[in-house]
Amino acid sequence: MAWNEPGGNGKNQDPWGGGNRGGNQGPPDLDEAFRKLQEKLNGIFGGKGGGASSSSSGSSGMLIVVLLVAFAAYIWNAVYIVDQKERAVVLRFGEYLETVNPGLHIYFPPIDSKYQENVTEFRTYNLRHQMLTEDENIVEVAMSVQYNIAELKDFVLNVENPESSLEQATQSALRHVVGGSEMHSVLTEGREAMADEVRERLQSYIDNYGSGINVGKINVESTSAPREVQAAFDDVIRAREDKERSQNRAQSYANAIVPEARGEAQRMLEEAEGYRQEVIARAEGEASRFSQLLAEYTKAPEVTRQRLYLDTMQEVLGKSNKVLVDVEGGNNMMYLPLDKIMQEQTSITSGGKVELSPQQVRDLANKVAEDLRSRSNTSTRSGRNAQ
């Protein structure tokens, strides 16, 4: 507890005989304390002071009130609270007395002087600078340093302005580290290692100063190319995307045509295989048919041969339009409007109209035959006559 603190506290309370505690409890004790104080003062200044105060009781009363108020104000100033987050350094006559832990305390200005600071809270220093890298490029680094006070005594007594010293040391350490790194590493994968190295350096610098500061965490917030060349750097990123894109396009082209080709190849093979099996099967079929027929033919060659011939001729001629030309001699010019007949036929069929019915065919054939007959009569007359 604060009252039990070792050091000057207990001693210093003695002259007031627990007046401090009384001040907290209420006026009666305080009055008593003041009376004691007054007595002491009277004692110090001897008879003269006593004479002055006894000469008029009114002015003595006034003096008491003034002293009372002054004392209360003094106590009000002298009592202080050190928060859990804080520590205080007390100097007595300029000499280091103690570092005070959290609690309620009292010190005695102007004999004592007190420096109270928050020591647990991390403070932050942010900086953003352009700096040179090892390969003579310029990068922009934004960094934040978190620090707190590790040793308040050192913080208060050793360095003129510990925080500005920290800032200068940070800049120096950061530039040193960036100056020893290549731009690529600063901008990309080297950032984490950079923070560690800056932290190490910074701590060693400020330890050298004895500033009592502890560097907590260093964050490299961002490293980027300077604004002046940002566009070019962005273009590199775009180029990477472009590369990816053109590769993807090519890959999709490949993905499209190769399987199709595979399918086409398979189709060619299947067709060929189909053909192979087809021709073999047909050959077997035809060969078998021929062999079977041959077996019968050998038994009755003449009849079979004649029958086959007639069957075929019947079939062939039955389907065709027939023109029977009885021409003797080879050099007779015969004119048949064959092209016309053909044309008539094709125009009818290709026109999508109904095919010629057998009746029509017959009529047509008759007409042709008639035509031929009349013609042959005229054209072959000479031939006939010659005959």
């Binding site: 200044f45 004479g51 002055a52 006559f93 000499e95 280091y96 352009q130 700096m131 040179l132 003579e136 490029n137 310029i138 208060v156 003129e160 302005n161 010293s165 200068q168 040391a169 120096s172 530039r175 100056g179 004895g210 060349v229 566009a231 070019a232 990477r240 472009d242 590369k243 590769q247 090519a250 045509i257 190849a265 060619m268 093979l269 060929a272 192979r276 021709v279 073999i280 047909r282 050959a283 035809e286 060969a287 078998s288 027929l293 041959l294 033919y297 050998t298 011939y309 075929t312 062939v316 001629l317 389907k319 339009n321 027939k322 023109v323 029977l324 030309v325 021409v327 095919e355 065919v361």
Partner: protein
């Protein structure tokens, strides 16, 4: 107030004044000297409460903490005559109070000025003997240590000052040089971007060409295998035909011809111009046997 009490007050004031004049406090944060009629009688007063001869002795108190000399950025030339703007700072503290007082008459600004001239000349010498590369990235630690030690000896002796640290806070290129650095950086990036794009196109072309080749090969191989299969089929069929037809070649040609006639005149409407003398019409002309 009676004259007696007036006298009392005056006496009290005199005692207080005397007390204040004969007592002084030196803090842990401070260094002090005591002068008697300008003569230094106490060169290094320890922290605490002290007594001096009132009105005769004078106390001079200085800041005893670590002080900073933050000089303004200066232009330096490196060995290869490249300009650099270097911003440095020096951390120092009063070491020998007596020397410090005599050298600077206790003026911190004066001390900073003297120190900064010495630092600058050393820095200038050392930067002038190094290349830009060495200054920026090289052994900066050794460089700084060298300057610190070098400076420390003289500063201690001449100024009564201990130099704790000399550091370069910033190294920058002059603005016109930075511009050309930026231009170079930009062109380097352009180069890189171009290379990446072209690599992309290259690989895309490779992928496409590979795909085209695969397609060609696949189709050609398929064609080869297909033709083989067809040839195989044809050969086997031919063998089968030959085996069957060889049994009676004459009958085969007769039979096959008949089939061919059928096939040839399969279409309706073909016109046949026939000679009535052909075999087929043998019986058409004469019913009796020949």
């Amino acid at each position: 107030m009676s004259p007696k009490s007036m006298l009392g007050v005056i006496l009290l004031a005199a005692v207080v004044l005397l007390g204040l004049e004969s007592l002084y406090v030196v803090s842990e944060r401070e260094r002090a000297v005591v002068l008697r009629f300008g003569e230094l009688i106490k060169p290094n007063v320890q922290p605490g409460l002290h007594i001096k001869a009132p009105f005769i002795d004078k106390v001079r108190i200085f800041d005893g903490r670590l002080l900073t000399l933050d000089s303004s950025p200066e232009r330096f030339l490196t060995q290869e005559k490249k300009a650099l703007i270097i911003d440095s700072f020096v951390k120092w503290r009063i070491d020998n109070v007596e020397t410090f007082y005599t050298a600077t008459s206790g003026d911190i600004r004066r001390a900073n000025q003297l120190l900064s001239q010495r630092v600058e000349s050393r820095l200038r010498n050392i930067v002038g003997s190094k290349t830009l590369q060495e200054v920026v990235s090289g052994e900066r630690d050794q460089l700084m240590e060298f300057i610190t030690n070098n400076l420390n000896g003289i500063a201690r002796q001449e100024l009564g000052v201990a130099v704790a640290d000399v550091r370069i806070k910033g190294i920058d290129l002059p603005p016109q040089v930075s511009d050309s650095v930026f231009e170079r950086m930009a062109t380097e990036r352009d180069k890189e971007a171009q290379e990446i794009r072209s690599q992309g196109n290259e690989q895309a072309e490779v992928i496409r060409a590979d795909a085209d080749r695969q397609k060609r090969v696949l189709l050609a191989e398929a064609f080869r295998d297909a033709e083989k299969a067809r040839g195989d089929g044809d050969a086997k069929a031919a063998a089968i035909y030959a085996k069957a037809y060889n049994a009676d070649a004459e009958f085969f040609s007769f039979y096959r011809s008949l089939q061919a006639y059928k096939e040839t005149f399969r279409k309706q409407g073909d016109i046949m111009v026939l000679d009535p003398d052909s075999d087929f019409f043998h019986y058409l002309k004469q019913s009796g046997a020949k």
